[in-house]
């Protein structure tokens, strides 16, 4: 295909630059206008989300000032101080616990689908992972609360008993390590959220692993490499962008997860290192829990918190999709 620029550079046409004459009919112009209009709705909605959250949250931000970032209390309605200094670290630590579990499992699942699984299983597994993404987070939350949590806290106790010297697994000595101090913790919430993150990470990684160049793959096998050799030296290096990008997309999802976290945690407003001890929080859960009991200033403060969450997920996800897009070739199918 010769583009306009190539023609003019090759000096075949000396003076006049060839510009393709496109005369569209009225219908076509209308069609393009409608499509452009609906495309721009997305821009408008995104701008409105940011704009309205800022507009509604600005009152609270004026009251709190920089305290919004440094204060860990949340008592806007009583004229008290409020800020996200405790909620934000909790949000991040739930997301990090989730990623810590989800990323290795997702890498393994994606590798299994692209490299190890028998051909017949592949389609089935891909569908199952998609189904995992379609299960409502509410159901994950219920299952986590009633089924997983009572079983998981034995692991929390084990971590606290045996690895208690690490600050993450430390529990307050006053209460001892009876099972009662372990439910509703960052750890339990993180495990549940990890289940919701796995399908997102896996589908990105699967796509990128599947695009590892067949030449290198076959070359590695021809040199006598084992399956693991191929994975280690071809698939994983080529899929590094996918692993990083997929994990970051998962991080974005984990930061904004609401209902499952709301069901599991018991709200705490003192930041602490321990992830196994009772009490945790997240911005999304804070909004869901405090919303019904808040009056004017309280709602405004929640809007400001929502704005913070919106901005954070926006940054994380934009970075993630730029990483993924760079490692993915977006070619169209041609016949």
């Amino acid at each position: 295909m010769t583009s306009v620029a190539d023609v003019s550079e090759s000096n075949l046409v000396d003076e006049a630059r060839v510009t393709p004459v496109v005369r569209r009919s009225k219908v076509d112009r209308a069609y393009r206008a409608v499509a452009t209009l609906s495309g721009s709705v997305v821009f408008v909605v995104m701008a409105l989300i940011g704009g309205f959250l800022l507009y509604r949250g600005i009152d609270a931000l004026r009251i709190s000032g920089w305290g919004f970032i440094t204060e860990s209390q949340w008592a806007p309605d009583m004229g008290g101080a409020f800020g996200i200094a405790a909620v934000l670290p909790y949000t991040v630590s739930i997301a990090l616990v989730a990623l810590f579990l989800a990323v290795p499992i997702s890498v393994a699942t994606a590798l299994f689908i692209t490299e190890y699984a028998p051909r017949r299983l592949r389609r089935f597994l891909t569908a199952t992972i998609d189904l995992l993404a379609a299960v409502p987070s509410l159901i994950y939350g219920l299952w986590g609360l009633f089924y997983l949590q009572p079983r998981l806290i034995t692991l929390s106790k084990w971590l606290a008993d045996n690895l208690g010297f690490i600050p993450f697994f430390e529990v307050n000595e006053d209460f001892g390590t009876s099972l009662g101090v372990f439910p509703s913790s960052t750890f339990v919430a993180g495990v549940i959220v990890s289940l919701m993150v796995i399908p997102i990470c896996t589908s990105v990684m699967r796509e990128v692993f599947g695009q590892a160049p067949p030449g290198e793959r076959e070359g590695a096998m021809a040199l006598g490499g084992t399956r693991w050799g191929v994975v280690r030296d071809v698939v994983l290096p080529f899929g590094r962008g996918g692993i990083i990008g997929g994990s970051m997309l998962g991080l974005g999802r984990a930061l904004g997860e609401t209902i499952a976290v709301t069901l599991i945690i018991s709200p705490s407003f003192d930041a602490k290192w321990s992830i196994v001890e009772q009490g945790s929080n997240s911005i999304a859960a804070l909004i869901a829990l405090k919303f019904s009991e808040s009056t004017e200033t309280g709602i405004s403060a929640l809007m400001a918190a929502g704005l913070a969450l919106f901005v954070i997920t926006l940054i994380v996800n934009t970075a993630a999709s730029s990483v993924v897009n760079r490692s993915r070739s977006g070619s169209a199918t041609e016949i």
Partner: protein, 375 residues
């Protein structure tokens, strides 16, 4: 003949030492796996029950698994060398990692079915909670108001989001205007908007700023904020799969751009678009967080999504699960079961449609073609 056979066996034996099979399972692998499983079970029994001061089923499984990895690694290493041992270890880890992703799904489905089927009676789909008191049995009353609410809200949300999403996808992939590149980035960003933020946005913009009440419509607006990017992204992928040759053929025959899109591109990708929409519905139908802020919740039937508070199935479950009464909790589980069945059914339908290629000719299409005398 016998000589030839023996010679061939010799050859294969000589080669077998070098050959690395990639996808087949050899009997020696199975033997090693079973042996290692038994050995590590015995070892973990010894360690866990006798030497170490540990308890709990979960810890036991973890110890067993780690020991299994170690034992089978040593076994393969002794039998077949270091390289094979590493390969074996990687295979076991990948297999178990993949099953870690699948097992929870099975457990969740079984658990919700087990909890929810008690109160699942026909009247769950016919009655609301009008006559439900604190002492009512779990089989009294139902979630019809919530189901109707969900259907209306998701229906309105799809009426808003599906046409908008598909035309946006058409803009991205067919019109390819100047905005296409930034638009794709923004759609990606929009798909990452946390669901609670979508609810907050509608609360701020629709309820606080415009002075509306909490209604089903407000809920569907919040849902369509979440629905739009999902539809756009999947529809764009589907449109990208339409072969460029078809478009060029249409244009070469003198078709206008609009004709090309409406008569060639969209019909070709119809099954994919339907799948995209159904998957989007399955994703949106379980959203709870935005509805907490926007629909208000109700215990009685409200047929009108434009006025008055409405209930929705996920919100119904979320509220009732935190009641102290056992019967309300049982109803919540039934609601969760219904919700899960809805999602599963939608998902299976989507898969069944999406499995067909663009050249699939269904019964209806065949009939239509026959009528035109084309087939």
């Amino acid at each position: 003949m016998a000589l030839a056979l023996r010679r061939r066996r010799n050859v294969t034996e000589a080669v077998a030492d070098e050959k690395i099979r990639i996808r087949s399972v050899e009997s020696i692998d199975v033997t090693v796996m079973i042996g290692s499983a038994i050995a590590s079970f015995a070892l973990s029994q010894l360690l866990y029950e006798t030497f170490l001061p540990l308890s709990g089923a979960l810890g036991y499984v973890v110890v067993w698994y780690v020991l299994f990895l170690a034992v089978s690694w040593i076994a393969v290493r002794e039998l077949r060398g270091n390289v094979r041992a590493k390969d074996h270890l990687a295979r076991v880890v990948v297999w178990s990692g993949a099953s870690m992703a699948i097992v929870p799904l099975i457990l969740i489905v079984l658990y919700v079915v087990g909890k929810g089927y008690h109160a699942l009676r026909p009247q769950f789909f016919a009655e609301d909670q009008r006559y439900v008191g604190a002492l009512s049995d779990a089989t009294e009353g139902g979630g019809a108001h919530a189901i109707i609410g969900t259907i209306q809200q998701v229906g309105i949300a799809s009426l808003i989001a599906v046409p908008l999403g598909i035309t946006t996808a058409v803009y991205l992939n067919e019109v390819k205007g100047r905005l296409a590149k930034p638009l794709r980035t923004v759609v990606d960003a929009m798909s990452a908007v946390p669901s609670i933020v979508a609810g907050l946005f509608i609360y701020a913009a629709w309820i606080l700023a415009l002075g509306n009440q909490q209604t089903g419509l407000a809920g569907s607006l919040a849902l369509s904020v979440l629905f739009l990017p999902t539809v756009t992204r999947t529809a764009e992928v589907v449109l990208r799969l339409v072969p460029g040759g078809l478009r060029e053929a249409s244009l070469a025959l003198g078709g206008t751009e609009w004709r090309t899109t409406s008569r060639v591109v969209l019909p070709t990708s119809r099954s994919g678009l339907v799948t995209a929409v159904i998957l989007g519905v399955a994703r949106v139908i379980g959203e709870t967080a935005p509805l907490i802020l926007t629909v208000g919740g109700a215990f009685i039937m409200n047929w009108n999504p434009l006025a008055g508070k409405q209930d929705s199935l996920p919100f119904f479950v979320f509220r009732l699960i935190r009641f102290p009464q056992e019967s309300q909790i049982a109803r919540a589980w039934t609601g969760a079961l219904v919700l899960m069945i809805l999602v599963l059914v939608l998902f299976v339908i989507a898969r069944a449609i999406g499995g067909r290629g663009p050249d699939h000719i269904g019964r209806l299409k065949k009939w239509r073609l026959q009528r035109k005398g084309l087939a």
